[in-house]
């Protein structure tokens, strides 16, 4: 089971790869769209990458509720 720090780091890696987000900026309070400039198509790519990396399924209705990096981290923690 990865630690919260591992999840944050893994998520930061995905965000950098998919959307060019600087890893240090990927902190829990950041909103994907408002703060990190991640558009809706990139969110779909990020969800796919999260599913691969952490082995969690993210249905579309759940994805719609993931607004911040912290939301994503807690979703991954809960569903692993």
């Amino acid at each position: 089971m990865p630690s919260t720090a591992d999840i944050q780091a893994g998520l930061a890696e995905i965000l950098e790869e998919v959307a060019g987000v600087t890893p240090a900026d990927a902190t829990p309070e950041k909103s994907f769209t408002e703060d990190l400039d991640v558009d809706s198509l990139s969110m779909v790519e990020i969800a796919t990458a999260v599913e691969d990396k952490f082995g969690v399924a993210i249905p579309d209705d759940e994805l719609a509720n993931i607004k911040t990096v912290g939301d994503a981290m807690s979703y991954i923690e809960k569903n692993q």
Partner: protein, 413 residues
């Protein structure tokens, strides 16, 4: 406020091609007679009758940031690279022109084929959930125009003519129309193509349209030569910035040339075969010259479409002879660049403009034995080395599968 005139000028050029990563290096390589053609060494190509391509010298990822590269099909990447060079060259960002008055017209012949085919592989291997959410914007044929529109902040309209190998030239004509009609004050125009992949290669080869001179890559593209056996597929993009002459002069822009006239016709003859006497091509050439307010005698140079196919080159030679005459200096630069399909008309317009600027006509490479066709014999085709000449008007023509004919006339200012 002065009344806008219909006089349209070229104030920026951009290109990334099999001869160089920008306009200057491409032009230098062209005049030096270098070839952009090489033989593919990939495993898949071994069974292919035609194994030659003209690849880019510079990967677009060297210029674009990683995220942008990821989200753009290769045809869009090269379009953006060329358009950004043209935009910088024209100092477009400092022009003071409002985004609502900036338009883009960018054509492609094939569109995002690499994305379509690559994502189809993913679909087959991994299923629909793994298909990229960027698949559609990356494969749509208006994608390059849209990507260029975002890059330059164009809000007056983004348009994407699709007329096979005439697309780049058609984009330039649309740009001229937009400025003449007062629908924009600055237009970034051009064409792009990047479809080096087994399927397009197999498709063109099945049409018997590609050269199979696999053992002599640099000698394979030989327009107007008796031994020509088809075109060589190239990749790349070229872009021009157009604006009204009065506006360009008022802002102190560097003016390369006037885009004095343009015209397009359709053959109404066959889906892919050119009319044997180039009837529609000749009409386009004649109409473009009249549109420019010139006579055939004024056209000192023609950058021909001449793709090195047996039928196309003789039809075009006939059209040039009939519509212009035998005094004009003709060149076929695809002998060195290969055929960039939807980018061809834009790249060859860049060449025609630089030929005007430098008063030199690049040579047609590999033209050893002139075709027996009387029109080919009648023309003054520059070969062996570039020729210095004095001329004030140059014409670029482009033709596309589907019977599309385009002609553009550039003049010195």
């Amino acid at each position: 406020m002065s009344t806008p005139t219909a006089d349209v000028v070229v104030t920026g050029l951009g290109a990334t091609t099999p001869l160089g990563g920008d306009v200057a290096s491409t032009w230098e390589a062209l005049l030096a007679g270098r070839s952009g053609v090489s033989r593919l060494t990939d495993d898949w190509v071994k069974e292919f009758p035609a194994q030659l391509v003209a690849r880019l010298t510079s990967e677009p990822a060297e210029t674009l940031d990683r995220v942008r590269t990821r989200r753009l099909d290769r045809s869009q990447q090269v379009a953006v690279v060329a358009a950004e060079e043209a935009w910088r060259d024209a100092a477009g960002a400092d022009s003071g022109v409002a985004p609502e008055r900036i338009a883009v017209v960018f054509g492609t012949g094939i569109g995002g084929a690499l994305t379509l085919l690559g994502q189809d592989d993913i679909l087959e291997e991994k299923g629909p959930k793994r298909v990229s959410p960027f698949t559609i914007p990356m494969l749509m044929p208006n994608g390059p125009a849209a990507a260029v529109g975002l890059a330059v902040g164009a809000r007056a309209g983004v348009h994407a003519p699709v007329s096979a190998c005439a697309s780049g030239a058609e984009a330039i004509r649309w740009g001229l129309d937009l400025l003449r009609l007062g629908r924009a004050d600055m237009v970034v125009v051009g064409g792009t193509e990047a479809c080096v992949h087994p399927l397009p290669m197999a498709g063109f080869a099945a049409m018997r349209a590609m050269s199979t001179r696999n053992d002599e890559p640099e000698r394979a593209s030989r327009p107007f030569d008796k031994g020509r056996d088809g075109f060589v597929l190239g990749e790349g993009a070229a872009a021009l910035v157009l604006e009204r002459a009065d506006a360009a002069q008022a802002r102190g822009a560097t003016i390369y040339a006037r885009l004095a006239g343009a015209a397009g016709t359709s053959d109404g003859y066959d889906l892919v075969a050119p009319h044997p006497e180039g009837e529609g091509a000749a009409r386009a050439i004649g109409a473009a010259i009249r549109d420019a307010g010139l006579t055939p005698a004024d056209i000192g140079h023609v950058n021909a479409h001449a793709t090195s196919t047996p039928l196309g080159d003789t039809a075009e030679a006939t059209a040039i002879r009939d519509a212009i005459g035998d005094h004009t200096l003709v060149t076929a630069t695809k002998s060195q660049t290969g055929h960039l399909l939807g980018a061809a008309g834009a790249l060859e317009s860049v060449f025609a403009i630089l030929a005007l600027r430098d008063q030199i006509v690049p040579a047609t490479a590999n033209l050893d034995d002139l075709d027996d066709n009387p029109a080919v014999h009648a023309l003054d085709i520059v070969r062996r080395e570039p020729r210095k000449a004095t001329f004030s008007a140059a014409l670029n023509d482009s033709f596309g599968f589907g019977g599309h004919n385009m002609a553009l006339v550039f003049t010195t200012v």
